[in-house]
Amino acid sequence: MAVHSMTLPATILRDAARATLAPTKRLADRVASSLDQDLPIIERCLKGDEAAWEHLIKSYTRHVYALCYRFTGSGSEAQDLTQEVFLRVFSTLRSFRAGQGTFAVWLTRLARNLLIDHYRRSKLQRLSDPLEEQLPKLEDQAHAASRTDHLLAGREASEVLQTALAKLSPELRETAILRDLQGLEYREIAAVLKVPEGTVKSRLNRGRAELARTLRRYGVLP
């Protein structure tokens, strides 16, 4: 064990230097195939296989980070939360039961619970900051990006979308992110949020409508 602990960081750092993230793949695709794809990896992880851990991290970093970033709207917070999610995975992977859903859903639920915890923790801080100080900055950002022809480049669209998402309630925001940005199926979202599929669809309709109204206010939708 001591030898393993001494040699592992150097190996990982060397590999990480040339590491590239796994090719982009929709989370829904991973969810659909994760029963076949992730279970052997998880078994290897539980046996302490370093390469399996690396594979798991590389496969899911993009998804977890995107979820955290879209929910919080902050790169640094998203990084910290992603790290927190994986720390939780390292310590609780044994509690994952293959029969109770796919690993992707389990991981997404874990990330979502941490995000909600973070939202509640930071709620007091947000309340203590005067709203007048926050809103002008966000809305100026959005209005600066607005165009008369309602056409935005990808990066600008992403920033405006982020500002508009921040206006949604946590329930509507997480549903919209999981479906429209992460690409999960309704049943998977229902499993992550532990609500019926009908509730997921209802929240999604309301979330999309509210998002459209906000984007229209920013002048990026006709």
Binding site: G48, A66, G154, G198, S202, L215
Partner: protein, 218 residues
Amino acid sequence: MKCAELEGLICDYVEATLSAVERQLVEAHLQSCEACRALVRDARAALAFTRKAPPVEPPPELLTRLLFLVPSHCDPGAAQASGARARVAAWFRPILQPRFAMGMAMTILSVSIVARVAGITPRQLTPTDLHPARVWQAVDDKVHRVCERVRKFYLSLRLVYEIQTQLHEWSQQLREQDAAAAARDSDAPVLPSRGPESNGFPLSQDQAEPKAKGGTKQ
């Protein structure tokens, strides 16, 4: 069909994943319901805008950080160990962490330094040496010895010696000056040290006379 019943289908209608029959059902309702038409219009617009946004890319350093976290949480022996061995390993796992090893080493070092200062040598240690009074006596004795050594060392420093010598000389000079001044003050009325003219006043008749008389005798 009521709006609430249609709500579940609107999501799929917006995403164009409905069957032909369901689509006709929804479209029939939309022709007569302005609220649902607005909902579909907004949902479509939001979905189209959301799909324009590029995927979020994590910074490369995040992956490095995550990979670096693996060793402290990945225990290759845990899965293989079983039964009593696993339980024993689980007990000792926190202790075998590098941070605890370092803490333990620092504790042993600190205790050994204190023991050395207190004059306690483990080889000669007997149960009576652990009595509080004995320990206190040993510590007190050692502290006094150390203080004395420090004092001697300080006094033997060249700089301290030179300062002391200089101070001694200065005090000696002051004492001599004081003694000389005292002697002057006591002798001045009887034996003036200087001539009678030195004070700037001419000698009186009585003062000049003995000199003249002495001079006649000789």
